[in-house]
Amino acid sequence: MNVLMNVRELIKAHGDIEREVYLDFENSGPVLPEVIEAMLPYLRERGYGNPTITHKPGWEAYEAIMEASEEIAGYIKASSFEELHFTHSDTEANNIALLGGFSANRKLGRRVVISKIEPLSILFPAQMMRKNGVEVVEVPVNNEGFVLENELLKAVDDETVIVSIGLVNHEIGTIQPIKELVEVVKERNPCTLFHTDASDAYGRIPFDVRELGVDMATLCSYKIQGPRDIGALYVREGVKIDRILEGPLGTESLWPGLENVPGIVGFQMASRLAFENLHEKARRLKGFRDMLITEILEKIPETILNGPRGDRRAPDNVNISFLRCEGEALTIELSLRGVYVSSGSACTRRLLQPSHVLLAIGRKYEEAHGSVLMKLSSKHGFEDIQYVLKVLPQAVGRLRSISPF
């Protein structure tokens, strides 16, 4: 297979790298060793049954799922473990919240409101709904990514079934004042359901679903270095959601089929690790984050920070546009030096357009094409940051030296 030969050569071309710094936790990441340890017994010898069957390996599976539900429900201060539903991913949880939430509550109206900077797993299902006759309104944001409250108020009407606005933006780290936004929405229409994609908040900043007042919230495992293919949807008691697929029901009622017990146990452990000393770790992350931002903006000319600064920005998020530098070229240039990032360039995204989030905060196309997103993990150390700061000017410099402008 030609493709396989190509990719093997690409990997080989990296040779021996001085240091590797993985900064693409937006898009995935290695699973933490403690998480793998926790999963192994459930892959090998425990709870390998189907939790709906009445025998020991089934009951063990059931026990594991209930324990994980209870623990994870606790981290987001849900009223009960019954409000937490595991899904195969955050993508799936977002789809269920929108499609299943709309379908179960369609008598409330025919409108869905989202912000202009939601991830594709919200934006694309919303666009699919629009094709099927649902009114979809995309509320604009300001140049730091904060939703414009007056625009939100205008968008919500008597017919609005669901509003979905992310708690922490996945690309530019804007921490949305969700509690206020929920109040704006509920005051206008108390029946409207409020969903928040909290994938980028969970395990990075503390939040309390009851205090926020949301009806649904999406949680993600891989973004906190848990296993892939597991996520969760918090659904406040009393809120109705339809299933999208059908099949044999397990203990989870939002999604048919066999529960991924090892995945659930891994998600539980990743959550536990993330919430251990959350504040302390966030402080440390912010230190590294600001070091990266300050030094890059200072040392590399023609750079722009995307998203807000300080406490209104997620502690792990660095997103900077390098003018006269195309993003995909930059990710490869950096990969060859052992630094792994992603970009909002049209080229990396394999869509015809650059990041809709960057465009929504007013970046020009050429600014969006040159953007680089770095997401820090609490496993990163000072040397990692220094290495990035050493390598980045070389990579940017090389590409700019090629550019015709």
Binding site: N6, E9, A13, E326, G327, S403
Partner: protein, 163 residues
């Protein structure tokens, strides 16, 4: 059901890292650009052409992805020592083949470099007030593609501002 990205060939990565014929050509006879910063792909081709219409030297500058850089590098190699009528006939397929194949989402990068080259050739003759009979009046596929991409970016940019 299109599978998304076929990864780059070894040759593209190699040429991305060590492109040939890089940089402005100070004594260029003619130059042309294709693409734009807004597209995320912009290529400049410089040609030094002698009296017999033979390309003595070709260089390029690129703002763009690895495919863009690699195809430009290959193209500037191919054209060297060739007469312009022959250079004109180099199509994007040939360039794509030369870099070991392009992922389908990246084909437009190969086309862009060829588009820039044809524009440079047109410029060469236009400057001299010539109209060689082998050169088609209308734009070729490669030139149209470059134009479309530039226009698309412009339209999208404008739409963005209007909102």
């Amino acid at each position: 059901m299109s599978r998304v990205p076929l990864p780059y060939s070894q040759k593209i990565l190699e040429l991305f890292r060590n492109p040939k014929n890089l940089g402005k050509l100070e004594d260029a006879t003619v130059m042309a650009m294709a693409g734009s910063p807004a597209c995320g792909d912009l290529i400049a081709i410089y040609l030094k052409v002698d009296d017999r219409e033979v390309v003595e030297k070709a260089t390029f500058e690129s703002y763009g992805c690895a495919a863009n850089i690699a195809t430009a590098s290959v193209l500037t190699e191919i054209v060297k020592g060739k007469r312009l009528p022959e250079v004109w006939r180099i199509g994007w397929k040939e360039v794509a083949k030369e870099v070991g194949g392009l992922p389908s989402v990246k084909l437009h990068c190969g086309i862009l470099a060829t588009g820039a080259l044809r524009r440079a050739i047109r410029n060469f003759y236009r400057k001299r007030g010539l109209k060689p009979d082998w050169m088609p009046e209308g734009l070729t596929l490669e030139e149209r593609q470059a134009l479309e991409e530039e226009k698309l970016a412009e339209v999208l940019s404008k739409r963005l501002k209007l909102e």
